[in-house]
Symmetry: C2
Subunit: 221 residues, 2 copies
Amino acid sequence: MSVITIERKVLEKNDELARQNRTLFASRNIFSINIVSSPGAGKTSLVEKTLEQLKGKLNVAVVEGDVQTDFDAQRVAKYGVPVVQIVTNGGCHLEAKLVQDALQNLDLTNIQLLVIENVGNLVCPANYDLGEEMKVVVASTTEGDDKPLKYPGMFRNASVLIINKTDLLPYLPCKIDELKRNALSINPSLIIFETSCTTGYGVAEWCTWLTGKVFQHKGTK
Amino acid sequence: MSVITIERKVLEKNDELARQNRTLFASRNIFSINIVSSPGAGKTSLVEKTLEQLKGKLNVAVVEGDVQTDFDAQRVAKYGVPVVQIVTNGGCHLEAKLVQDALQNLDLTNIQLLVIENVGNLVCPANYDLGEEMKVVVASTTEGDDKPLKYPGMFRNASVLIINKTDLLPYLPCKIDELKRNALSINPSLIIFETSCTTGYGVAEWCTWLTGKVFQHKGTK
C-alpha cells in the first residue's frame, strides 16, 4: 500500500508542475503537443516531416526525450529550430519537472508551437501530464492492429492518433480499418491521420490540421 | 530520495521472489526464458513459431504478460501447450510475484522449457528479474538500427537478441549490420539470431540452439 501512496504523491507533484508548465505556455501563447509511441514507430521522423512542412508558417521549438543518446536532437537541429535533448538515463517516461528544466535552455521568444517528443514507451508516459495541450499517439502499422486494445491507457489519454508507415501495409498482416476500429472503441473522440514519413503521404493533412489548432488556440487567448 | 529508497525496496523484494522462482525451476529441471521487446516486435509470433518447431521435441509451458486482453494466451493455447495469461492492468512490466502466482495455475509436470512473454516495453522489464535463465530481446527491423543505443538497459541485460521481420528489410532504411554492431557495442556477449516469423526464416536455427541449451542445462543438474 505504501508504494501506491508514494506513486500517487509522485503523480500529484507531477500534476502541479504540469500546471506550472501549462501556465507558462498560456502566458506566451504557445500551443504544445506531447508525442508518444512505442520505440521506432516514427516519432522523430514525424517531427522532421512536420518541421519541413511548417517552415516559414509557424515558429516551432522541440524538446526531445530519450533514455540515452542525443541522436534525435541532432536530427531535429538540422531544421534550424530551437531544440533541447532530455536524457532520462534509464527513466521510462518524461515528467513535467524534466520539461520545466529543459525549457530553461530554450529561447521561447515568438514560439507558437512546442513539440515534446516523449521516450518510446506505450505504457508509462500515458500517466504523466507534461502541461501539453494534447497527446498525439503514433502507432506504426508494423506493430499490428491490436495495440489499442492491449495498451488502452495511451489511446484513452490521447487526442490524436497518427497511423504511420502506411507504405508498408502491402507487406503486413495489419488491417488498418481494424486498427482504427480498435482505437475508436477505446476512445471514440480520437482524431485519426494516416501517414508515411518515408513517402510523405498524409503529412500535409496532419500539418494543416495542427496549424489550424495552433491559430484557433491563439484566437481564444 | 525517498522514492529511490522505495524503488530499491521494490527491486529487493522482487529479487527475493525471483530467487524462489529460480529454485522452483531448478528443482523441476525447467529451463526458462523471459522474452522482452517493444510492442509489436513479434514476441507472440516468435512463441508460436517456436512451439510449432519444438512440437514433439520438448515439453513447453507458456506464461503470457499483457497490460490488457488475453489475446496472446488464446493464440498460444491453439498449440496445445499449458498457458496462463497475466493481465497487469496498466502495469508496465512483469514482476516475479505475478509469475509466481501464474505458476500456481500451470501444470508443470514434465515441463522442460518455460517461456515467459513479458509486456511490450523496451525500458521497464529490463530491471525485473523473474527467475528466468536468460532474457531474450526481440528487435524488429522496422524499429530502426539505433534502438540498442537508445534503450541500452534491455540489450545489456539480455543474453540473446532476435532480429525479427527480416522479410521487410528491402522496404526499410534499417541496416542490419549496423543494428548488430550497435547491439554488440552495448553487450559484446549477445548471441544473435535473424528471423522472419512471417516466412519462417531463421526460426529453425533459433530453436536448435534453444533445444541445445535446454538439454545442456538438464545435463548440469
